[in-house]
């Protein structure tokens, strides 16, 4: 029982360090990917006047930017589930549901015009 508790206490600490590293990687990758898309798209729109490719690049950049925090939350949920930290797995999952609600609200509002 006491041994169990001991391992239970050290596992989250190791898990916290892992999570922080993973989150850092996700955020950095998201920032770089979206900045590159936005920079190339912006340069094209300024120098060529824009077109289909420009529009795709700019919108991809925006979507990657918006998706980065969402992926960060997904990664956290997965990490907490693997640690069996059910309280924080639930909390991060609720945040995901709230973000999904925003996306759904956006679609509904868009349809309404």
């Amino acid at each position: 029982m006491s041994a169990d508790r001991g391992s239970g206490r050290s596992a989250p600490r190791a898990g916290a360090a892992t999570l922080e590293r993973t989150v850092g990687t996700v955020l950095r990758a998201g920032v770089i990917a979206s900045s590159v898309c936005l920079a190339v798209g912006l340069a094209l729109s300024l120098f060529t006047g824009g077109g289909v490719v420009t529009g795709i690049l700019l919108n991809t950049g925006i979507v990657v930017l918006l998706a980065t925090p969402v992926v960060r939350v997904i990664v956290s949920t997965v990490q907490y589930v693997s640690e069996r930290d059910w309280a924080f797995a639930t909390l991060t999952f609720i945040v995901l549901l709230e973000l999904a609600a925003s996306a759904i609200a956006a679609l509904v509002l868009n349809r309404r015009g």
Binding site: E20, S34, S35, G41, L42, L58, F88, L91, A106, L109
Partner: protein
């Protein structure tokens, strides 16, 4: 929706750079300066202004937090707990913004700008929480190494319900007005919840990405976000905050705060005048 021209794009890039630099020097996101510039100076609709500003807020949050991971400055557990409240506030704010008139939003912005200015002035002398390093931080508390003192700072979270309420309000204001909302959370977390200033700022900046995403998604889905202008603003803010962090000596922060507080009072007055019509 504003008409995109090369000149307008460059103006927005420059405005983003200025806001990003100021934001980095003041420890703010910069949205509180971008929204009035777009709305009052360039004449964009309030929703288009808020939408562009929110995308820069997300970029700043991701960039700043990526650079801070590994230092235990960000309290991830507290952040993720408070995100439940801030994302709910942000979602409701984003939906509400679609049904509220521009003049109401302008008046609300004027009101919040005054509060931000007052908070800025009241915090000219930063104070930190000093705690016994051997204390048990509990589930939500934290421990980090402070470079200036060379010691380890340990803290427990006090008055959690207050932190939850502040996060909800910050999220709500964030997506209604297009600002990050850190200016509301950080003072509450620091002054009443026992969290050292640097940890409070880092945790707030970390949460803001989720807050702003909930709001920005609604604007983007509703077609209120112009991608070219958002790209110019985001890249400008990235450049500005990079420069601000690299070259900004925090020494003159006091005068900068007084100057910015004065600017915010003017912004507030302009918002009230425009919104009162």
């Amino acid at each position: 929706m504003p008409v995109v021209t090369a000149t307008l794009t460059l103006i927005i890039f420059a405005a983003g750079t200025a806001a990003g630099t100021l934001g980095a020097l003041l420890g703010l996101g910069g949205g509180v300066f971008l929204v009035p510039f777009f709305n009052l100076v360039l004449g964009f609709p309030f929703s288009a202004s808020a939408a562009i500003s929110l995308t820069t807020v997300i970029a700043t949050s991701s960039t700043v937090s990526a650079g801070r991971t590994g230092k235990q400055l960000i309290n991830m557990k507290l952040g993720m707990l408070l995100e439940v409240a801030t994302a709910a506030g942000s979602f409701l704010g984003g939906v509400t913004a679609q049904f509220v008139s521009q003049s109401v939003l302008q008046k609300l912005f004027g009101f919040v700008a005054v509060i931000v200015a007052l908070i800025m002035l009241s915090r000219l002398r930063r104070r930190n929480v000093i705690l016994d390093p051997a204390a048990d931080p509990g589930v939500l508390g934290g421990r980090f190494h402070e470079d200036e003192s060379g010691g380890t700072v340990t803290y427990r979270v006090k008055r959690l319900p207050l932190a939850v309420v502040a996060s909800f309000v910050a999220g709500n204001v964030s997506s209604l007005l297009g600002i990050g909302g850190g200016i509301i959370k950080v003072p509450v977390l620091n002054a009443w919840c026992g969290i050292p200033l640097r940890a409070a700022a880092a945790t707030s900046a970390f949460m803001i990405g989720v807050t702003a995403t909930a709001g920005a998604t609604i604007y983007y889905g509703h077609g209120q976000l112009e991608p070219t202008l958002a790209a110019a603003a985001v890249l400008g803010v990235q450049l500005g905050s990079w420069g601000g962090m690299r070259f900004g000596a925090a020494a003159s922060a006091k005068w900068l705060k007084i100057l910015m507080a004065a600017a915010l009072f003017i912004v507030s007055a302009m918002m009230f005048m425009r919104g009162g019509r």
